[in-house]
């Protein structure tokens, strides 16, 4: 993918690219951490049709929405041969008791038998997280296990 990176002096950074369908989309990262999602007009590729301001939390959510399903799909493809094993993504609810806790605190593996093999945060995948990895609200956990184990892990994350 050919991402064009343009510094905006005094404001931040603009990164944009052309989709295969011929639409240009991009992201402006402000120096203070806010960002903007920009979709360009199709009749005037120099101009933004919409630009949506995002707080850093909203940007993280959007990034995980776009990034996580892709990862889970890939993993499911890999695990298809081992039939009883499945991959799910489970969210850490902001403000829940695991928001701010370490991975070790959840004790998911010892209590449910399922394993957390990656944490997706802000569209970035952190593979094989260690027990001292600190979880935050909005993180998506990629969990591998049996159907029962995954259900138990989901209950655990929901209720603590």
């Amino acid at each position: 993918m050919d991402v064009e990176v343009t510094p905006l002096p005094g404001i931040g950074l603009r990164q944009d690219f052309m989709t295969r369908a011929g639409r240009r989309i991009g992201v402006i990262t402000h120096r203070d951490g806010r960002s903007e999602l920009v979709v360009y007009r199709s009749d005037d590729p120099d101009a933004a049709a919409v630009s949506i301001p995002l707080s850093s939390g909203e940007a993280t959510t959007l990034a995980s929405l776009l990034g996580a399903p892709h990862l889970v799909q890939q993993l499911e493809g890999q695990h298809r041969d081992l039939t009883p094993i499945q991959t799910h993504q489970l969210a850490v609810v902001p403000g829940s008791r695991y928001d701010g806790a370490t991975l070790g605190d959840t004790a998911v593996r010892s209590r449910t038998g399922a394993s957390i093999i990656a944490v997706v945060r802000g569209g970035v995948v952190h593979p094989s997280p260690r027990p001292d990895f600190e979880l935050l609200g909005g993180d998506l956990l990629v969990v591998v296990g049996t159907e029962d184990g995954l259900a138990a892990a989901a209950r655990l994350l929901e209720r603590g």
């Binding site: 905006l8 005094g10 199709s42 009749d43 005037d44 590729p45 630009s51």
Partner: protein
């Protein structure tokens, strides 16, 4: 200690002035213009020959106005890092030079035609040249155009103007003191050398300077910043290069995260004291002097709107931007603002230019404050209406 009656009067007057300014500011944001021209009008109303003469707080207003100029220029310096300034210089020097020539010339010419002499011409050149990067960036943000492809072109011209200010201000202030050709050229040379040294120091040792000033506690950081700015400003004033220049160069020297935090912390303080400065400027301008120069101001406003449009058109075209983007770039650059007043203020305070210059600058800034934001908004609809065959919807969209 204090005379309690005088203190009470001063507090009442200051409170009434600030409250009045807040009403004007609210009105300005409502109608989508910068509040500066309304603050000026407020100052005109309070001042000599105005409706409500003030007594007892002139001293505070005059010192507060000085601090306002120092903060305005400190934040202007903080806006871009030294690296950004150099990149801007490399990338858009041609458009920047055209910007200088096309927009400084009308101001200088009018001053000469009015018979004000070369010093006033230099000051008026600055008044019509320099635009407020803050106002332009805000208009672009409000209109959702930060992502537009012409925006980096606009920003790089603003960066160039910032750099031009660094050279222009010391030169202006030395000329204003009224020195001969030889010593004048020497001071100009010294000013250029000082700017170069500050840029080099900022590039090489910007981090060290920032570390000295930085502090994790906001109140310590604030006091340190303000102290350093006033010290620098005072030193520059003592060396007869104007307090504003010292603050500006300090702003450029501070870099990175420290600069961002400093800007965030100082912004409310800047807004307060800048408002006081605009009131001070309005106060020192005689309202009766404005009508005679209104014609000249209107002429300047029209001509310099066209010259900024042309500058933006040229700069955007050389970066391969389409027709509509070139118009948008030109219209965005039209906005002038606070720095026109800062320059006029420096000139009038020095006393080596006619007092009418303040009236002309005031009228010009009032007009531009209305024309600038409107130009940026209406350029596209107007262009669509008058273009013979609306480009876009038919041809280009289908070809994509």
């Amino acid at each position: 200690m204090f005379d309690s009656h005088a203190t009470a009067t001063a507090l009442l007057e200051l409170g009434a002035v600030l409250f009045g300014l807040s009403v004007l500011g609210r009105l300005a944001w409502r109608i989508g213009i910068s509040p500066i021209p309304l603050y000026l009008l407020g100052g005109l109303a309070f001042g000599q020959g105005g409706l409500l003469p003030l007594s007892g707080i002139e001293e505070f207003i005059s010192l507060g106005g000085e601090i306002g100029v120092v903060l305005l220029l400190l934040l202007l310096g903080l806006e871009y890092s030294a690296g950004e300034l150099l990149t801007g210089l490399r990338r858009s020097w041609l458009a920047g030079v055209i910007d200088v020539v096309a927009n400084a010339a009308p101001g200088a010419l009018v001053a000469l035609l009015l018979g004000w002499g070369p010093v006033a011409a230099l000051a008026m050149a600055g008044v019509t040249y320099i635009s407020s990067s803050g106002i332009v960036a805000k208009v672009l943000g409000d209109l959702g155009r930060l992502g537009n492809r012409e925006t980096p072109v606009i920003l790089s011209i603003l960066v160039f103007e910032d750099l031009a200010m660094a050279v222009y201000l010391p030169v202006l202030t030395t000329v204003l003191i009224g020195v001969g050709w030889v010593s004048g050229l020497t001071t100009v040379g010294l000013a250029l050398a000082a700017v170069t040294v500050v840029l080099v120091v900022a590039l090489r040792y910007g981090r060290q300077i920032s570390t000295i000033l930085d502090s994790p506690e906001p109140e310590v950081f604030l006091l340190r910043l303000l102290g350093a700015a006033l010290l620098f400003a005072g030193l520059a004033a003592a060396a007869q290069v104007s307090a504003a220049v010292g603050a500006f160069l300090l702003g450029i020297a501070i870099s990175g995260a420290t600069a961002e935090n400093a800007a965030k912390l100082l912004e409310p303080l800047r807004d307060l004291f800048a408002a006081v400065f605009f009131v001070l400027f309005g106060l020192s301008t005689d309202p009766a002097a404005i009508p005679p120069v209104l014609g000249a101001a209107a002429g300047l406003a029209v001509v310099t709107t066209l010259t900024k449009l042309a500058t933006g058109w040229f700069a955007a075209r050389s970066h391969g931007i389409g027709r509509m983007g070139r118009l948008r770039a030109g219209a965005a650059l039209v906005a002038r603002g606070e720095f026109s007043i800062v320059i006029a203020g420096l000139a009038v305070v020095a006393g080596s230019v006619p007092g009418d210059l303040a009236a002309l600058a005031t009228a010009y800034v009032l007009l531009m404050a209305i024309i600038g934001p409107i130009a940026a908004r209406v350029v596209e609809p107007l262009a669509h209406r008058f273009s013979p065959r609306p480009q876009g919807s038919a041809g280009v969209a289908e070809s994509i």
